[in-house]
Amino acid sequence: MINPIENLNKVFDSRVRLGIMSALMVNDEVSFNELKVLLDITDGNLASHLKALEESGAIKVQKGFIGRKTNTTYMATKAGEKSFRAHLEALEKMIKGTK
């Protein structure tokens, strides 16, 4: 039997990252502040998780302005969506497998 844990992606191995990816799966783009409110975490914490996801190629960043304020938004990449779906399937398999 294949161990389903192998399919679990290390990049998504955190509540915050799961939350970020979930939000980006159902929205075209989400801003930094929206994510912050949604996940209820500090700027620094969120930024470091976003950085990790960006470096793995799961999300991409777009810097813009609203008036004079910077507005940074994030989107899931095609590869990110694909690996997140695979991660979800692995989670499902684990639950079914151990029943």
């Binding site: 799961l18 939350g19 979930s22 939000a23 159902v26 507005n71 989670l91 499902e92 639950i95």
Partner: protein, 211 residues
């Protein structure tokens, strides 16, 4: 076994985040309270005209040619317009303040989607009621307002705080009951747009914004 539970929790977390991130969460309970107060003031001001103690025609001598002129010559139309504007502006202000406090820009995709979904049933209802008035069925105006507004809320609740759905159901229910008590329209109207808004706004404020 523990891993199993962990995976289940992860999936639940994912579901919650997907749902919450696709909703407009800046809607303030204070907006509901403000809109409710506007509605009660509006109902109080229009009471004498609706009950027929005072004439609602502004200029009896005016030759009411078109449907629109007929509307402009009616005090109730201006009271309704002022009430609606007051409610909208005050609701907007409190939601704007809340979004500012949360640090979320108010005009995002979510706000836009919410607005579209409220507006479609409301506009259709508005046109429908306009025609009802034309045919003189004034007794159906208050129930019509409540029913269409309730449906608009039910429709919009998918895109904002979920509790709005139940406010919508209550408005529809009130409107339907009102269909059998047509002389009591202004009371039902004040109860739905005034009291229900204030009660719901208070509840929402207590639940989400109290701190």
């Amino acid at each position: 076994m523990q891993e199993n539970e962990q995976s289940l929790k992860d999936i639940q977390h994912i579901k919650t985040m997907m749902e919450r991130s696709s909703r407009f969460i800046s809607l303030s309970g204070l907006s509901g309270i403000a809109a409710g107060i506007c509605a009660i003031i509006g109902a109080a001001v229009s009471y004498d005209y609706v009950m027929g103690y005072k004439d609602f025609i502004i200029n009896p001598a005016a030759d009411s040619g078109s449907e629109l002129e007929l509307l402009y010559n009616n005090r109730l139309f201006w009271i309704a317009a002022a009430t609606f504007t007051g409610a909208l502006v005050s609701a907007f202000i409190f939601t704007w303040l809340k979004s500012k406090k949360q640090g979320i820009p108010m005009w995002g995709n979510l706000a836009y989607r919410l607005l579209i979904n409220v507006s479609v049933p409301l506009l259709a209802g508005g046109i429908f009621l306009f025609r009802l008035i034309h045919f003189g069925t004034f007794g159906l105006v208050a129930p019509g307002c409540l029913i269409f507004y309730g449906l608009a809320l039910v429709n919009a609740s998918k895109y904002t705080l979920n509790e709005i759905r139940y406010l919508g159901y209550l408005q529809v229910l009130l409107g339907i009951i009102n269909l059998w008590f047509t002389g009591w329209g202004i009371y039902f109207w004040a109860a739905g747009f005034g009291v229900l808004h204030i009660v719901y706004g208070t509840y929402m404020w207590y639940k989400y914004e109290r701190n």
